[in-house]
């Protein structure tokens, strides 16, 4: 089973829930798709890590073959090419690697080179396969790293996909691979607004979903009413718990520290229909 954990708002506890779900299930795979801020690895603390570089293509122009026709510059919709002193010049950070310039060049003057935009780390740690997509700072698009990380979705057993916050393309891509979407929400006006956005996204993807309400110490009934109206099962409520907060701050996996929390996450997994 593949479970995507998502939230809309950042900092609601996606990683807490994802890491613990993976930790209570023997032989599971944990994939961190929050490539801009990958934090699952800070909890699993993997030791033997293998790294796969993630590269993207960008064009190089052979001056001897370029006739200066500007077809490439005119074709590029991302403004990644400019014409300077009779030759096209590329801004690799802006290039989307579509290959269009190479395709439209009548003289075969364009070839492609690779540059690294991030890595995908892989390791095995206490029975969990830990995959982390890590984008290089300064890079605008995490999609190539995210797609590479998602190649590790396992056909058997449990895969937990820790999604990025928000509701943009990266979230659709991550959640699109899942059989089930688990929404982690905070019972505040901020949390609720973003929760509704991400619920609409999950509905659009036609995925079954359920919600975990985290930091459930403030009462915010509107959220529960919304869940009832929209038939979203509230699978678990995690009250604000100083012990969870401090263990999480230290990068500890709560279900490995205290059997009480392990039971809590096993129960959650069973409710979703995965096996602990």
């Amino acid at each position: 089973m593949r479970i995507a954990v998502l939230s809309g708002k950042g900092g609601t506890g996606k990683t807490l829930v994802s890491v613990n779900l993976a930790a209570v299930s023997e032989g599971s795979t944990y994939i961190d798709c929050d490539v801009e801020e990958p934090n699952g690895r800070l909890f699993f603390k993997p030791e033997k890590v293998t790294e796969k570089k993630v590269n993207v293509d960008f064009p190089v122009f052979k001056a001897s073959m370029c006739k200066g026709c500007r077809k490439c510059v005119n074709f590029c919709r991302f403004n990644a090419l400019v014409f300077i002193k009779d030759a096209p010049v590329v801004f690799p950070e802006v290039c989307h690697s579509c290959g269009g310039c190479s395709f439209v060049c009548p003289f075969g003057a364009v070839s492609e080179k690779k540059r690294q935009v991030g890595v995908v780390e892989q390791s095995n740690e206490d029975g969990v396969r830990v995959i982390s997509g890590i984008l290089n700072p300064g890079e605008a698009s995490g999609m190539p790293v995210l797609k590479e990380a998602l190649k590790n979705v396992s056909r058997t057993g449990l895969t937990v996909i820790d999604c990025p916050p928000g509701s943009a393309c990266s979230v659709t891509e991550s959640a699109g691979r899942a059989d089930y979407c688990l929404l982690v929400a905070e019972p505040t006006a901020f949390g609720f607004h973003n929760f509704k956005m991400v619920h609409r996204l999950v509905t659009m993807l036609e995925k079954p979903c359920g919600v975990v309400i985290n930091k459930a110490d403030t009462s915010y009934d509107v959220m529960k009413e919304y869940c009832e109206e929209n038939e979203i099962p509230v699978l678990m409520e995690i009250p604000y718990d100083e012990k969870i907060a401090s263990m999480t701050a230290d990068g500890k996996i709560v279900s490995r520290e205290d059997e009480k929390y392990a039971d809590m996450f096993r129960e959650l997994l069973e409710k979703i229909g995965g096996e602990a």
């Binding site: 990683t15 801020e37 579509c98 605008a140 659709t172 006006a189 110490d217 403030t218």
Partner: protein, 285 residues
């Protein structure tokens, strides 16, 4: 106009709470919410006027004319974004995956593919006693960097005489963040005392450095772990990053948010700490 941008790297550290407090303290006449795929600032910003809305056009999207399509699949084969899939006997463009590069329109021998404008979100501009610019990206769409740039431009154009602008940013370090950083005078990073907070702080600082943005740091809910707070302070000292203060965990913060007001309107420990953070930040401008 001096523009202060609030960022965090990690989500949920309290960007919007800090932004809302700064808005009250500074009486800023220009405000913007650049967290376009999870906007929240409007919830605690008093707005007594209806916004002027406009469509945000993202990249164009490919469209297949099935009267012309011969079903050869060459478009699908050449698309680098895996945006053209074979479904139920025909080729279909995935509107979320398509980046509008136009390669498919070139490779199609039948001339069956054209590019069309795509509404990828909505911009809202509130022009009351002050200017507030915000937007919402359409679900699953890309181009958030472009939308962020439009949100900021709309603010600057509508409030050219404002002295101070407070801009709420998005989490992460990718396109929205990079776009929001451009042209601001100071980036205030709100972090939290945890291993995740510190790791994300390091990544956002690297990003700020690449784009040559001046940055300062404050810690929210510092009392959750004084040890990690000390680590963050140490990191800032080592890297010569101004440390502008720490805010305690205060249950009145979320209570204030739920009532739609800023913590700056409530007399509480977080309020006092935020005032100090505000003063120290303004001294850096």
């Amino acid at each position: 106009m001096k523009k202060i941008l609030i960022l965090s790297g990690k989500g949920g550290t309290g960007k919007t709470t800090v932004a809302a407090a700064f808005i009250r303290f500074s009486h800023a006449q220009a405000l913007a919410d650049c967290d376009v795929d999870a906007p929240n600032l409007h919830i605690i910003t008093e707005l007594d006027v209806e916004p002027q809305t406009s469509e945000f056009m993202g990249s164009q999207r490919a469209k297949i004319d099935y009267d012309k399509c011969a079903g050869c699949g060459f478009c699908s084969y050449t698309c680098k974004f895996e945006a053209i899939k074979h479904e139920k006997g025909r080729y279909v463009v995935d509107q979320n995956a398509c980046e509008g590069c136009g390669v498919c329109t070139q490779v199609c021998q039948e001339g069956a593919i054209t590019l069309h404008d795509d509404v990828a979100g909505e911009l809202s501009l509130y022009s009351g006693d002050r200017i507030f610019s915000t937007a919402e990206l359409k679900m699953g769409r890309g181009n958030s960097g472009k939308l962020v740039a439009e949100v900021k431009n709309a603010m600057v154009n509508a409030a050219p005489d404002a002295d101070i602008a407070i801009i709420d940013g998005s989490p992460g370090i990718g396109c929205s963040v990079i776009s929001s950083v451009s042209g601001v005078d100071l980036v205030l990073i709100v972090t939290e005392p945890s291993v995740s907070g510190l790791s994300d702080l390091e990544r956002i600082m690297k990003t700020a450095e690449i784009f040559q943005a001046k940055a300062a740091v404050c810690v929210n809910r510092y009392d959750v772990s004084e040890e990690h707070t000390a680590e963050i302070e140490e990191y800032c000292t080592e890297h010569n990053i101004p440390f502008v203060g720490k805010i305690p965990y205060d249950s009145q913060t979320s209570q204030a948010i739920n009532e739609g007001i800023s913590v700056a309107d409530v007399d509480c420990p977080a309020h006092t700490a935020l005032e100090e953070v505000y003063k120290n930040t303004m001294n850096l401008l």
